[in-house]
Symmetry: C2
Subunit: 275 residues, 2 copies
């Protein structure tokens, strides 16, 4: 029997949780209410594990602790995540094939992540090591919603069908790289039309959508919460980061969820296009 594919694991996690929510685990020690990063993460995981389909540590925040200490905390964090929940290394790695394989060894084999975010700028052979194993997922950075996101991503590229933004070309490349159904897109689209267009290009792909909302940590007082309403307009701006919970969504066409963190406030989050 072949192992569970990344796609199967993601679908199972969606169905079990009834949730598209992906919680970032991006600790900033200066803001943590607990001295130990892993202990803090574990409390977040315990409080949210039934409400999310995925956790997404951004490795930068662990490297910033001093990489030896930080990766030890990350490893301890990962061990506390229930095995049915998808783990995404937000690493945005991008390097030539030989080097990409070294990153794959670190992130998939040594740390045991289910998926990673990857940068497309170095092209097909830099992505291949990430996508060749169906049980692991590669989420290609396509359109980001940071202030400089459009500097390159919105450049108009000449194609036989006319000029198109670079991020659309990246989406098409990602589709071509997706032989095993294990490729996704980081789709922090700022305008609803962009998200619709990406859905047209990559109908079946999971989209990692940043900035759906943020919930302040207990230290800062609970309850500040932003919500994304259904329909096209799902982006509420950048999530608060640091010890805040940065909440992303992983969208699939036609998927809905009816509640958000802690179940208190219905989110009525709807996939941007599919629903």
């Amino acid at each position: 029997m072949s192992p569970q594919s990344f796609r199967e694991k993601l679908i199972a996690a969606w169905e079990r949780s009834g949730s598209l929510l992906c919680v970032g685990l991006d600790p900033d020690p200066a803001k943590l209410p607990l001295a130990d990063v892993a202990d803090f993460n574990i409390k977040i995981i315990e409080a949210t594990a039934d409400l999310v389909c995925a956790y997404k540590p951004n490795v930068a925040f662990y490297e910033a602790l001093g990489p030896e200490r930080g990766y030890a905390a990350l490893r301890k964090t990962l061990a506390a995540i229930p095995p049915h929940i998808v783990t995404i290394a937000d690493a945005k790695r991008g390097d030539v094939a030989h080097t990409a394989r070294a990153y794959v060894t670190a992130i998939f084999d040594d740390l045991g992540f289910d998926a990673a975010t990857v940068n497309p700028y170095l092209g097909a052979d830099s992505i291949e090591p990430w996508v060749e194993r169906p049980e692991k997922g590669a989420i290609v950075v396509c359109r980001t919603s940071n202030p400089g996101g459009g500097d390159l991503q919105d450049l108009r590229v000449q194609t036989v069908g006319g000029a198109r933004p670079l991020y659309e070309i990246v989406a098409e490349r990602a589709r071509a790289w997706d032989r095993h159904g294990n490729v996704g897109l980081v789709a922090g689209a700022t305008y609803p039309g962009e998200m619709r267009r990406l859905r047209e290009l990559c109908a079946e792909m999971p989209f990692l959508v940043p900035g759906i909302g943020a919930q302040r940590s207990r230290r800062h007082g609970a309850g500040r919460r932003r919500e994304a309403e259904g329909g096209e307009r799902v982006i509420e701006g950048d999530a608060e980061r640091s010890s805040d919970l940065s909440v992303h969504a992983i969208c699939g066409v036609g998927r809905r969820v009816g509640r958000t963190a802690r179940g208190a406030t219905p989110l009525h989050y709807t996939d941007a296009v599919g629903a």
Copy 2:
């Protein structure tokens, strides 16, 4: 007195060594003649320190050892590099500003590198944390010579002056980001015309040029060596990697060197355009 700028350190390293050579430290434990990665690196450093202007560990190969162990070996390696030699973290990081700052903390402050390679796909605010300190360098990935390097980098972008390849636009952005003279380019140009064009766009920048040559490790027998002759055609194909020494050059306009690793074979390396 302000601290030595990155540019001043690089120029001093060029002048002291009479060399543009930058040796990669990319260990593959399966190929190492010594059990300990740091011990192996230290032997390389001892054998080459008078012949190079820079060392460039690619962090992927340390993360692949298990990041806790790998970064400890990297830290021990860095401690063995004489302080006048430039250290470049080949990390190709690229993330939004808040996250880029965490990477900067790890690579510049905690590990103490002089410079890092960075990926431009997320735009200006993702680069800003890398370039805002004159004593540290940011080497922007612009044109890479891997098989997929052209997949995005060669796309024709519409500009007011006509269609131009994406990598040229990246070079121009890098110039705009370079307020402190501490920005460089990864310029693995495959064709001499590309390198000349990048020099026209960024006349004053240091270029990190991969694949100038490779020398096999002692285990594989010494002496296999490829050389790049002067003039336009500096790229000899991808360097052999792993425990091989991957030799790059850091070019500045008009700079020449007259010898290469171990001094045995004159390289007559000449900057692609400037000399």
